[in-house]
C-alpha cells in the first residue's frame, strides 16, 4: 500500500477498532495512530501491520516533548525511527508543547510561553527530531488553557517562525484553534485567519477535527476541554469550511480518544469531512490510486 496520505478524510485508529479497520469503509481513506501505543505492545503492532497493508498510515506522536528545555529523548527518537522504518507512514507529527520535565513524563500537552527563548528550544528540538527521524515533522497547534502574561509571539507567528527556521510542516488542528481562542478570549475566526495568513500554504500538511466539551468551573467560568470524546461541533465545522476554502484539499483526520464510538460513527464523520472537501474543491477522481492525490476542479 502506497504511503502517501491522500488529501481526503482519515480516522484515528484505536485498539477497539483494530479488527473492523481491516474492512474497506467508505470515508476512511487513511489511518492515524499514536506510535507510543505500539512501542511496547507487540500484539497491537501485529494488528497495525495488517491495517497498514490496506490503508496509508500517519503516526501522530504525543510523547516527543518538542518544547522541553532538556531536549528530545534520543531513546524515544530511536524507537520512533524504528517504527517509521517498518511502517513507512505518510506523515509523522507531534505537538507544540512539552510533556517531560524534572525527569518525568506527564500525559498532557503542557503549554509553552511563545517567547524567543521557547522558539530557540523548540527549533533546536525539531531540528534534532527531523534529523533523527530522517524526515519532515508536522507540528500541531495545541489546545491552550493558560494564557502567559508576556509573550513575544502570538501562536500563528510562533509556528510560522518555527516553520521558517526548521522546515517543519504544520498540523493545523481546527478544534484546537476553537478551544484556544475561546479559552484565551480571542475570536476563533480571527485566530484561524491568523494561521491562514501567516503560515505558508504548503506548510500545512494535515488538519485535525475533533470534539471538545465545556466544563463549568466552580467560579462560574466556562472552559473548553479538548477531550476528543464527542462529535465535531458545528462551530468547528464552520471553521473547517473556512480553512478548506483557503487551503484547498488537505488530508483531514477525525480524531477520537475518549468515549470511543462505533467505527461507523467515525466513518460517518469522515464522510462528512469528504463532503466538505468535495463541495469546495470537487471530488477526487475515482479509479485513480488515492496516492496520486488528483483532484478535479470544483
Amino acid at each position: 500500500m502506497a504511503n502517501r496520505i491522500p488529501a481526503a478524510a482519515g480516522v484515528g485508529l484505536r485498539f477497539p477498532h483494530h479488527g473492523v479497520a481491516l474492512r474497506p469503509t467508505p470515508g476512511v481513506n487513511w489511518l492515524e495512530v499514536h506510535p507510543e501505543n505500539y512501542l511496547l505492545d507487540r500484539g497491537a503492532l501485529v494488528h497495525l501491520r495488517r491495517a497498514r497493508e490496506h490503508l496509508p498510515l500517519s503516526l501522530h506522536a504525543v510523547g516527543l516533548s518538542l518544547g522541553s528545555v532538556d531536549g528530545v529523548s534520543r531513546h524515544s527518537l530511536q524507537r520512533l525511527r524504528t517504527l517509521i522504518d517498518e511502517l513507512e507512514p505518510g506523515l509523522v507529527s507531534d505537538h507544540l508543547s512539552f510533556s517531560v520535565a524534572n525527569g518525568h513524563y506527564l500525559p498532557d500537552l503542557l503549554p509553552l510561553p511563545y517567547t524567543e527563548e521557547a522558539l530557540e528550544v523548540v527549533a533546536k528540538n525539531v531540528d534534532a527530531a527531523q534529523e533523527a527521524l530522517g524526515r519532515q515533522l508536522l507540528v500541531e497547534n495545541p489546545s491552550v488553557y493558560l494564557a502567559p502574561a508576556a509573550q513575544d509571539f502570538d501562536e500563528p507567528d510562533f509556528l510560522a517562525a518555527l516553520v521558517k527556521r526548521t522546515g517543519c510542516g504544520v498540523l493545523l488542528d481546527i478544534n484546537n484553534v476553537f478551544v484556544t481562542a475561546t479559552n484565551t478570549g480571542q475570536d476563533p475566526n480571527v485566530l484561524l485567519q491568523g494561521f491562514l495568513a501567516k503560515l505558508p500554504r504548503e506548510a500545512i500538511g494535515e488538519i485535525h477535527l475533533a470534539g471538545h466539551t465545556t466544563r463549568h468551573l466552580d467560579s462560574g467560568q466556562r472552559l473548553l476541554l479538548d477531550d476528543h470524546g464527542s462529535k465535531v461541533g458545528d462551530a468547528v465545522w464552520a471553521l473547517y469550511r473556512a480553512a478548506i476554502a483557503v487551503l484547498g484539499r488537505v488530508p483531514t483526520l477525525v480524531e477520537w480518544d475518549n468515549h470511543l464510538p462505533e467505527w461507523q460513527v467515525l466513518a460517518a464523520e469522515a464522510l462528512q469531512t469528504d463532503a466538505v472537501l468535495d463541495a469546495l474543491h470537487g471530488p477526487m477522481l475515482e479509479g485513480l490510486p488515492l496516492a496520486f492525490d488528483v483532484t478535479v476542479p470544483g
Binding site: R42, P107, D108, L112, V121, A149, L223
Partner: protein, 260 residues
C-alpha cells in the same frame, strides 16, 4: 508597581510540571504572576492541567489493573492512583508499561493494610496485561532437547507467585459484576499461596494456569533465565522426569520438531 522578575523556560516547565503532578503551592505561586486571567482565572486553568494529568494517569493505570479497580471501587482507586503517580511518576510516554511498581506500593500503603490480597491482585492483573503485549506470531524462547526436538515456550511466558488465590478472586469479581454478588465469598480473601504461569496462545488469547512450585522453578530456569535443566535448584534428580512430563503437558510450552 511591583515588577515581576522574568521566568526562564526551564523554571516555567519545572513549576508547571511540579504543580500538575504534586499540586506544589510554591510552584503555582511562582507561575501565577506570569499568567493572565483571560477570561478563565489562571488558578482554574492551572488546576485543569493538574486534573488532566491525573485523569490520564489514573485511566492508564486502571486499564492495566481492572480487577483491582472493580474490587476497591473508582473513588478509592482514584486516590490510590494519584498517590502512586506522585510517588512513581512515569518517565516515558509508553503509559501502557507504567505501573509495574503498583503491587509493592499497595503492599506498603497503610490504607490497604486491611486488604493483603490487593497487592497480589495487582500483580496478577499486571501479568495478564504484559502477556497481552506479546506478538502471537513470535516464537518464544526454545530449549533444544535433542538435535531433532525442542521445547518452545509460548510468547509472553511468565511465572507469578502469589499469597492468595487471585485467579479465583478475579473470576468471582467477574461473576459479581455480572450480578452474582454471592460469588465474592470471604474465603477467597484468605491466604492461599499459589504459582501461576501466563502465556499468549496461538489464537492470541492470554492464558493463565495454576502450577506447582517445582514446575514454576523449572519454567523460570529453562525459559526465563535460559539455564539448563540440571541447574534447577533444590529439585531431586528423581523428580526431573516427572517434571519434564508435566512441562511437556503444559500448553504454555510446545514440543516441536527441529529436524530439517
Amino acid at each position: 508597581m511591583i515588577s515581576v522578575p522574568p521566568l526562564s523556560l526551564a523554571q516555567w516547565q519545572s513549576d508547571l510540571s511540579a504543580f500538575a503532578l504534586h499540586g506544589a503551592a510554591d510552584a503555582s505561586a511562582r507561575l501565577l504572576p506570569h499568567l493572565k486571567n483571560s477570561p478563565v482565572s489562571a488558578e482554574a486553568a492551572l488546576a485543569v492541567h493538574a486534573a488532566c494529568v491525573h485523569s490520564a494517569l489514573r485511566s492508564a493505570l486502571a486499564q492495566r489493573v481492572p480487577t483491582v479497580v472493580a474490587l476497591v471501587g473508582e473513588a478509592f482507586f482514584a486516590t490510590m492512583a494519584e498517590s502512586y503517580a506522585r510517588a512513581h511518576p512515569p518517565t516515558a510516554p509508553q503509559l501502557s508499561g507504567w505501573g509495574e511498581g503498583l503491587p509493592v506500593f499497595i503492599a506498603a500503603m497503610p490504607a490497604c493494610a486491611a486488604y493483603p490480597w490487593l497487592a497480589d491482585m495487582a500483580a496478577f492483573d499486571l501479568a495478564l496485561d504484559r502477556v497481552a503485549w506479546a506478538d502471537p506470531e513470535d516464537t518464544g524462547p526454545a530449549l533444544q532437547l535433542t538435535p531433532e526436538m525442542a521445547l518452545v515456550a509460548s510468547p509472553g511466558l511468565a511465572v507469578l507467585r502469589c499469597r492468595h488465590a487471585v485467579d479465583r478472586l478475579r473470576d468471582a469479581v467477574a461473576e459479581a459484576t455480572s450480578g452474582n454478588e454471592a460469588a465474592l465469598a470471604a474465603e477467597l480473601l484468605e491466604a492461599a499461596p499459589r504459582c501461576y504461569v501466563f502465556w499468549c496462545a496461538e489464537d492470541a488469547a492470554v492464558r493463565c494456569r495454576e502450577i506447582n512450585e517445582a514446575l514454576a522453578e523449572v519454567l523460570e530456569t529453562l525459559f526465563l533465565s535460559y539455564a539448563a535443566l540440571e541447574t534447577v535448584p533444590e529439585i531431586p534428580a528423581e523428580r526431573l522426569a516427572e517434571l519434564a512430563e508435566a512441562l511437556v503437558a503444559l500448553p504454555a510450552v510446545r514440543l516441536v520438531s527441529t529436524a530439517s
